[in-house]
Amino acid sequence: MPDIIHFHRVSHRYEGSGDVLSDVTFTLAKGEMAFLTGPSGAGKSTLLKLVALLERPSRGQIVVNGQNLAGVRRGQIPAFRQQIGVVFQNFNLLYDRSVFDNVALPLVIRGIGHDDIGRRVRAALDAVGLLGKEKVSPITLSGGEQQRVGIARAIVAKPQLLLADEPTGNLDPEMAREVMQLFQRFNEVGVSVLVATHAVGLIKKLPYRVIHLERGQLTTRQSPELMEKTVDFG
């Protein structure tokens, strides 16, 4: 199976600091779902930023969906990011417009026709269980609902890859579980998913690969149920 994300000996340091990531090599297969864990400052967010081209690696090679990121010029970044759906810890919704308009934004950016937008936004909101809320302002929603709006926005344009950075960080356990179930459902229909989280209790019973970062270095653990399906990392 081809890879959706491929890191080869990637290191990254911010100006005036040591290596935040050092010599990281891993792959995420197409259609795979994995968790990225580790304590704060271990480099989880930096890794996701490298995938979404918010940062460029100091060393090493990254290939996302067959595209070597070193070859993506500044002007090509928008088109590249349109292949990826991103979910944030703080939701990053736009509070001056309705839930519908928030979810529609990726489609508007792509120039999708007006009728199509309505149909697809409602389908995405339906998928996250918020169909009745399209006209309200996101500020009136609970944290869990806001995150579901964020997820609807991330998947409305049918990305092949979904990245989530601490998506449950601001949610209570019940809401967090619902959000994780949503990611599982999207993965079941073929979306590759990479979720950075330190909610280890929440994911330890889930049958997905865990990529563990410790001070910028990779250690990999599998869920016990998946031990027989061990993936070999170069």
Binding site: L54, P78, L105, R110, I112, A123, A127, K158, G190, V191
Partner: protein, 319 residues
């Protein structure tokens, strides 16, 4: 769930032109809506732009009016040939006839010494006092009306040639003050251009600064847009339209200000003109100047927005 699922390449996009129109129509509606919701603040900016545009436009309007006034006098311009006293009335009439045949001359009229005196008596109001004079001090005059639209140099040459006729004592074309007026007008018109240039920069800065504040307020929004793959053109578009509306409405306000000025000045100007026996009325801003003013407003608003957005957009990157 079906529609939200991942089916790569299942994008149904309209063609480029439709997408382009759709995007622009959306921004027009969106930015006008925002303009309306923030009406008082937006109008304040537009008002500043309006005053800035109205200053050169108003000056230009005045120059055009004075220019029109000068031109109306120019068409009634006549040269006066004062004849030597030795010239008999017959010789004078003959000369007037000859001059009328010259190129560049539309008409001539001969006024004998007696007629000059009668006219002077009537016009000066000195009537009886002039009767006390022993002899008639006034010369005979031939007034020469040049053809309309004659070149200034041709007219000057004509007057010089007429002055060299043996019967002519002196030839006068009293247009020096008119030339001075035109000189002053040319200077003022140039000044208008300079002022317009400087104030254009002011409009760019005003719009740029307003848009800059707008961008700062939307920093988070711009970051989110960049995160989900919005192109710079997409993010720039609403700001450019906003700048364009500022300029357009500013142009409208400038137009109202200039027309208001003309309206306010028209009463006194008409009565002043009436004192000189003229039916002169101040004209509003001519159509071409109005078009230029609106065009400048739109262009400068757009430029100001472009200048700011393209500088700021590079600095705002999602972290």
């Amino acid at each position: 769930m079906t529609s939200a699922s991942a089916r790569p390449g299942a994008e149904l996009r309209p063609n480029f032109l439709t997408r382009y129109l759709q995007a622009h129509v959306r921004e027009v509606v969106f930015t006008l809506g925002r303009f309306y919701r923030n009406l008082s603040g937006a109008l304040l900016t537009c008002f500043v732009i309006g005053i800035t545009l109205a200053l050169p436009a108003g000056l230009h309007c005045l120059v055009r009016n004075v220019d029109a006034l000068g031109y109306s006098w120019e068409t009634t311009l006549q040269a006066s040939l004062f004849l030597k006293d030795s010239t008999t009335p017959e010789q004078g009439r003959e000369l007037a006839r000859r001059i009328k045949g010259r190129p560049g001359v539309a008409d001539t009229a001969y006024l004998s010494r007696e007629q000059s005196l009668e006219e002077f008596k009537a016009l000066s109001g000195l009537g009886e006092a002039l009767d006390l004079l022993d002899s008639n001090p006034l010369p005979a005059v031939i007034t020469v009306t040049p053809v309309k639209g004659i070149e200034r140099t041709a007219l000057d040459a004509l007057v010089v040639a007429l002055g060299q006729q043996p019967e002519v004592e002196v030839a006068k074309l009293d247009r020096r003050w008119l030339e001075r007026l035109y000189g002053v007008l040319a200077l003022v018109e140039r000044l208008v251009l300079v002022i317009a240039g400087v104030l254009s920069l002011a409009v760019i800065v005003i719009v740029g600064n307003t848009i800059r504040l707008d961008i700062e307020a939307k920093r988070a929004e711009i970051e989110v847009m960049k995160l989900i793959g919005a192109t710079d053109a997409f993010i720039r578009r609403p700001f450019l339209y906003t700048g364009l509306w500022y300029g357009l409405v500013g142009g409208g306000i400038a137009w109202l200000l200039v027309q208001g000025m003309v309206l306010a000045l028209n009463g006194p100007a008409s009565s002043l003109a009436g004192l000189y026996g003229s039916a002169f009325r101040l004209q509003g801003l001519p159509l071409d100047a109005t078009a230029v003013m609106f065009g400048a407003g739109v262009l400068l608003g757009w430029l100001g927005a472009w200048w700011t957005v393209s500088r700021r957009l590079k600095e705002i990157e999602p972290r």
